[in-house]
Symmetry: C2
Subunit: 665 residues, 2 copies
C-alpha cells in the first residue's frame, strides 16, 4: 500500500477546503449534488469515460454519442428537465439533441402562439420531432438583418414560399441540421406583396418522420469536419421554393393574416431576455473548463520532476517560477470568473422578472455587460487552456492528458453565440453611450452601477497612485483603483478618438467606429469587463467569514489584478497614474504572490471537486499515478496497438521498405 503522492502537499494547504468548495457551489447542497451527479457518470458503463474511444472517426463518434444520449435520457429524463448545467463537463463532445433542447424547444416556448405550441411543443419535448435553429447563412452570420433567405407570402394558397436565392444564402453551421433534425426554425426575410418585413421565424419540416429522407425541394446535409465538436452535425440547408402553411410562421409576437397584413403583437424583448441564458451558460462553462484543466495540470506539476536542484535532488516542476507563472494566474481567473458569474446570474434573473412585468429597464445594461463578458471569458479560457496544455510538455500534447479533448470542445466558443470581436464592440458601443450620458448634467446621475466610474471621469483620471512599497500592491483597494482607472481611461480614450475622427477628419460616425477606432473600442470593453470581474470577486471576499479562506482569496484576487495590470500597463502609464518604479514594485508583488500561493495550489485546484472520471485524464487523477496510468492506457486502451491492426498496418508500409530507389515513373 503506497501512500498517495499528494498527501504532503494536501497537508500544506492553509484553508478549509470543504468550506471553499461550498463557497464555489453556493452551499453544501449544490456541492453534494455535483458530487453525486459526477458519481452517476463514473458508475455508468455507457456514460463513463473510455480512453479507447478517443481515436474514432466522425461516424463512430456520432454513433457513440447517440448511445450516450439515449442512456442519458433514461437516467435523467431529459425532456422534462432541460439539460443539466453540469452535463457539458462530462464529455468531450456535446450530446445529440443538445441544440434541440437549448434552441429549438425554447424558441417554440417563446415564439410560438398557443395554437402552435399545441401543434409542436409536446412532440418536441419528447423528441418525436427534433428541431434545429436555422439562422446563420453561408455568407451572413453576425449580421442577422441581412440574411438572404426569403419567405414570400402567397395569398392564393395561404402559404409562404421559402427560398434560397443564391449560394451565399444557404443556411450553414446549423447544429443538428446535418443528420439529426427533422424540423427547423428557419429565419427568412418576410416578403408580402413585394414589401420586406425583416427576418422572421418559420417552422419547416425537413425530413420524413418515418424514412428520415429529405422532403422534396430540401437539400440538406452535414458541413464537414471541424476544428472540434465533430460529433455535432452542423449542417447546411438549401430551400428550393418550399411551400409551408401560413400558420407555420411563429406568431406570438408577429402575425400575418390571411389577407397578407403584417401585425406586430406584443413586445418580443422578453424573448431576447430569455435567450440571453445561452450566453450566460457560456460564462459558466468558461470557468469550469478552465478549472478542470488547472486541476489536471496542478497535479501533474506536483508529480513531474525535472532537472536536479542545488542538492542534486530532482525539482518538482511546480517549484519553478516559470511553471507557477503558467498556472496560478489562470487559477485566479477561474475563481474570479466563478464569482463574477454569480453576480451576472443574479442580474439576469432580476431582468427576467422585471421583463415579465413589462419593465425592460435592465435589458440594455445586461446586454452591455454580457456581450463583452462572453468574449473576455471565452478568450481567457482559450488562451489559458492552451498555455496549460503547453505547461504539461509532451504529456499535455497526448490526448490521454484529458487536456486535448476539452480544448477541442472549447474552440468554437470564440465564434458561436456572438463572435468575440463583435461582442466586444457591442459592449463598447454601450459604454460610449454611457460615457456621453456622463458628460451631460441631466443624465450623469442615472448611470448603472457597473458604469458609475464614468460619472466623475475627469476627477478619476487625474488621480495618481501613491503607493511606495511592494506590500501596498498586495492590498485590494489600491489595485481596485488601478483597474477602475484603466477601464475609465480606455472608455474615454475610445470616445475621444471617435469624436476626433468625426470632428477633425470629418468621418461619418459609422466609418469612424468601423475603420478608425476598433482596437481602442475593444480595449475599452475588455478593461471594463476586467474591472467588473475584479469587483465581483472583491465584493465576494468581503462577505466571507472564514479568515483562512478570505486570506487566500485575497491573494488570488490581487494576483488577478496584478496580472492584468502587468500584462497591459499602458493605460496607467499613458494616463500618468503610475510611474516606472511602481510598475517594478507591482511585478515584485506579483512574484511574491506566486510564492505565497504555491503551497495552496493543490487545495485551490481540488476545491473544484472534479471526479477523476470527469477529468478524463491519465496525468491528472487524484491518485497521482501518472506514469502507470499512461502506460496502462497505451498498452490496453489504444486501438492502434491491437495485434490485428499492427499486422494490417505493416502491410501498408511493406511497399516502402527497401524500395525507395525505385526508378522514377
Amino acid at each position: 500500500m503506497s501512500t498517495n503522492p499528494f498527501k504532503q502537499e494536501r497537508e500544506k494547504v492553509s484553508f478549509n477546503q470543504e468550506a471553499m468548495a461550498e463557497l464555489l457551489y453556493d452551499g453544501p447542497e449544490e456541492l453534494q449534488k455535483f458530487r453525486k451527479y459526477q458519481q452517476i457518470f463514473a458508475d455508468d458503463p455507457v456514460l463513463k469515460f473510455d480512453p479507447s474511444k478517443i481515436d474514432i472517426s466522425r461516424k463512430e463518434l456520432f454513433a457513440e454519442y447517440c448511445k450516450k444520449t439515449y442512456r442519458y435520457h433514461e437516467l435523467f429524463n431529459q425532456s422534462s428537465n432541460p439539460i443539466n448545467k453540469y452535463c457539458g463537463l462530462m464529455f468531450d463532445e456535446p450530446l445529440v439533441g443538445a441544440v434541440h433542447h437549448s434552441m429549438f424547444v425554447p424558441s417554440l416556448q417563446l415564439l410560438a402562439d398557443d395554437e402552435q405550441q399545441k401543434r409542436w411543443l409536446q412532440d418536441a419535448l419528447q423528441m418525436k420531432i427534433i428541431g434545429c435553429y436555422a439562422q446563420t447563412e453561408l455568407a451572413h452570420g453576425s449580421d442577422v438583418q441581412n440574411l438572404q433567405t426569403t419567405s414570400t407570402y402567397d395569398q392564393a394558397t395561404d402559404s409562404f414560399i421559402l427560398n434560397t436565392p443564391e449560394v451565399g444564402a444557404a443556411k450553414w453551421w446549423v447544429g443538428e441540421l446535418g443528420l439529426v433534425a427533422n424540423h427547423a426554425i428557419v429565419y427568412a426575410q418576410l416578403i408580402i406583396n413585394g414589401q420586406r418585413y425583416g427576418p422572421q421565424p418559420f417552422v419547416v419540416q425537413l425530413r420524413d418522420l418515418k424514412t428520415h429522407k429529405p422532403l422534396p425541394g430540401i437539400d440538406v446535409g452535414d458541413i464537414g469536419p471541424k476544428y472540434g465538436y465533430n460529433s455535432k452535425d452542423n449542417g447546411f440547408l438549401i430551400l428550393n421554393n418550399i411551400r409551408i402553411p401560413r400558420t407555420n410562421m411563429l406568431s406570438r409576437y408577429v402575425k400575418v393574416t390571411e389577407k397578407g397584413e403584417f401585425i406586430p403583437a406584443g413586445n418580443p424583448k422578453i424573448v431576447y431576455a430569455t435567450m440571453m441564458k445561452v450566453r450566460l451558460g457560456i460564462l459558466y462553462e468558461a470557468y469550469y473548463f478552465l478549472a478542470a484543466q488547472l486541476t489536471i495540470a496542478t497535479r501533474y506539476s506536483l508529480i513531474r520532476k525535472q532537472f536536479k536542484d542545488e542538492n542534486g535532488i530532482e525539482r518538482t516542476i511546480l517549484d519553478y517560477q516559470t511553471q507557477q507563472d503558467k498556472l496560478l494566474p489562470y487559477m485566479a481567473d477561474a475563481y474570479a470568473m466563478a464569482f463574477s458569474f454569480k453576480k451576472t446570474m443574479n442580474m439576469f434573473q432580476e431582468n427576467l422578472q422585471r421583463c415579465s412585468k413589462n419593465d425592460f429597464s435592465l435589458l440594455q445594461d445586461l446586454h452591455g455587460l454580457l456581450s463583452a463578458h462572453k468574449s473576455v471569458s471565452t478568450h481567457t479560457t482559450l488562451v489559458g487552456m492552451e498555455k496549460i496544455r503547453q505547461s504539461c510538455g509532451g504529456h499535455g500534447f497526448s490526448s490521454y492528458s484529458g487536456l486535448v479533448g476539452r480544448l477541442k470542445l472549447w474552440y468554437p466558443y470564440s465564434t458561436f453565440e456572438g463572435e468575440n470581436t463583435i461582442m466586444l464592440l457591442q459592449t463598447a458601443r454601450y459604454l460610449i453611450k454611457k460615457f456621453r450620458k456622463s458628460v451631460r448634467p441631466e443624465s450623469r446621475n442615472v448611470l448603472p452601477p457597473q458604469c458609475e466610474y464614468l460619472r466623475d471621469h475627469t476627477l478619476l483620471l487625474s488621480t495618481k497612485c501613491t503607493a511606495e512599497h511592494m506590500r501596498e500592491f498586495l492590498l485590494l483597494e489600491p489595485l481596485r483603483k488601478m483597474m477602475r482607472f484603466t477601464a475609465c481611461f480606455r472608455v474615454v480614450k475610445a470616445a475621444n478618438q471617435l469624436e476626433d475622427q468625426v470632428k477633425i477628419k470629418k468621418m461619418h460616425p459609422k466609418e469612424a467606429f468601423d475603420t478608425a477606432a476598433g482596437s481602442l473600442l475593444c480595449d475599452a470593453a475588455t478593461s471594463h469587463t476586467h474591472y467588473y470581474i475584479f469587483n465581483s470577486f472583491f465584493e465576494k471576499i468581503i462577505q466571507v467569514n472564514d479568515e483562512s479562506i478570505r486570506e487566500v482569496l485575497s491573494k488570488l484576487c490581487a494576483l488577478y489584478a496584478l496580472t492584468k495590470i502587468v500584462e497591459r500597463p499602458d493605460a496607467l502609464y499613458e494616463g500618468g497614474h503610475i510611474n516606472g518604479e511602481q510598475l517594478k514594485l507591482m511585478r515584485e508583488a506579483r512574484e511574491q504572490l506566486l510564492i505565497d500561493l504555491r503551497p495552496e495550489a493543490i487545495g485551490l485546484a481540488e476545491s473544484w471537486n472534479f471526479h477523476d472520471n470527469t477529468l478524463r485524464s491519465a496525468i491528472g487523477s487524484s491518485k497521482g499515478d501518472v506514469y502507470e496510468t499512461l502506460l496502462d492506457w497505451v498498452q490496453n486502451k489504444n486501438p492502434v496497438n491491437k495485434p490485428e491492426v499492427q499486422s494490417a498496418l505493416h502491410e501498408t508500409i511493406a511497399p516502402i521498405v527497401g524500395k525507395v530507389n525505385a526508378p522514377r515513373l
Copy 2:
C-alpha cells in the same frame, strides 16, 4: 466568364510583386523551383490534396500517408536527396519515414564509425532498415542527463544488456517507433563495472525484418492519439534485459573496448553543430506556416462582407480596423522571421565550416541564438495561427478552411526539439554570461555582434527617447533604439535579480535561477530575440534597391517593432526611456501603418507564392470562389453526406426519437 474578385485589389498593390517574391526566395531560381515543386504535387493524383480525406481515423490516415510516402519516393527519390525543405508545407501530416530521414540516418552518418556505417547506412538510406531515435522517456524529456534506461557492459559475452528499470524509464514519444521502425538508436546510461559514463547511443533491432513482429524482450507500440500529428506513430519501448553486441554502441566519438575500457575519441561538438539543423528547419517552417495562413485569411477577408457601411453597402471585413489588427501584424512577423532566418542560416553554415576545421568558437553563440529563436518563432506562429483562424469566424473553424490542419500540425512545435520555456532559459543563461563578461574590462570587448548592446549598457539604459511627433515613430532608427533598450533593460534586470537573490536572500545561484527569476529570464531572452529579428529585417531592407519594395518593407518592419513595443512597453517605462505621451504617439503610428498597409495586403500575401493545392483551403484560393467551393466540398467531398452513411446514422438515432420519456432503469 466572371472576372476574378481580387482583380481590383491586386491593381492597388504599390510594389513589384515578382521582385518581392524573389527577395523572399533568394532569387528567381529558387522561386521557380518552389513553383515547380508545388505544381508537381498539384498534378499528382496521390500527392495532391483531397478534402474528402480530412475526416478519417488514425488507421486510415496512416495507410493514406504510407501511399503518399511511396509516391513521394517514386517522384523524388528521397533516399539520395534528404526530404525537400518544402515538403512539410504540402501535407497536413508528416510523411512516413520523416523521422527516419531527419534523425536516424543523420545520427548514423555522424555517430557511427566507418565499420558501423558499412553495416547500417546503405540499408538505412534505402529504408531496408527503418530507424527511430529513442531518447525521451516517460519521466524524462528535456533532462537528457537523467535518462534512466541502462546499458550495462557484460565482458563475458562482449555485449551490452539494455534494460528499462522502471515504468518512468520506458522510451516515450519516439517518432516512428510505434508502428514503423524495425531499428532504434537507443540512448541509455552506459554502465561498465558498476561505473556510469552518461547516456550513449546504441543501435537496437526492434522488429523482425520479415514478419515485423517485435523481437523477444522488446515491448513496443504506439502511444495513442494526440492533439495533432496523428498519422505519426509516436511510440513507447520497454527493454527487458535485451542483449546487443558491443559493436552496436555508436562509436565515432566514444568507444568501449573488449576489456571494458571507455575511450573518448575526438570532439563530438561537430555532431551537435550538425543536429542544430533540425532546430533551424523549425525557424523556416515557422514563417512559412504563418504565411500560408495569412494568405488564406487575407483573401477571405477581401471576399467576406459584413454589416453595411454609412452608404448602405456591405463593408469588406478587411476594411475594419479590428480585422487589419488581427492580420497585418502577423504579416510583419512572417516577413521579419523570413529575413532573420536567412541571417541565422548563414551563421549556422559558417559555424559548420569552422567546426569542420576544429574551430568551435561560434558554437556557443549559435546555440545562444537558436534556442530562444526556436521558442519565439514557434510561439509567434502558434498564437498568430490561432488568431488568424478566429479572424475567419465560423468558416475558420471548418476544416475546409485549410487553417485547421496546419494548426494541428503546428501544436507539437512548442514542445519538441526543445521545450519552449527551457529554450528561452538556455538563451537567458547565455545572455547572463555575456552580461557578466560585459562588466569586466578584460572581456567586454569580445562580445558577439548580437550581444554588443550589453557592452555599454549603463550608457544605453540612461538614454531617453526624444521623439515628439507621430511621424518619427514610423522611422526605423528610433524604433531600433527602443527594441535595443528593451532587450538590454531586461537582460540587466534579470541579471540583477539573480544577483540580489544570491547576495541579499542568500540563495544558491541555481535556486535563484529556477525559483526566483524565471519570468524575468524568459522576458530577457524573448526581447533579445525580437531585437535580433528586427535587426535582421532592418539590415535586409537597407540592401534592397527597388524603392517600392523598400518602402513597403519599411512599413512592415515598423509595424513589427511597434506591435512588440505597444504589447509590452513596460521595460521602456520602467527604464524611463519613454513617457506616456510617446506611447500614445506610437499607438497612433501603429494605427497609421494599418491604414497604409491595408491596400498592400493581398500583394504581401501573394508574394509568398503559395499554390492553391498547397493552401488546401476552400476559403483562401486565388480564385476567390469562397462560397461556391465550400458548398462543392460539403456536397461532394464530405463522406458523412453519402446516402448510405446517412441511412446508417439514422438507425443510430432512431432509438432516441420519441422515446425520451422511457422509464428509468
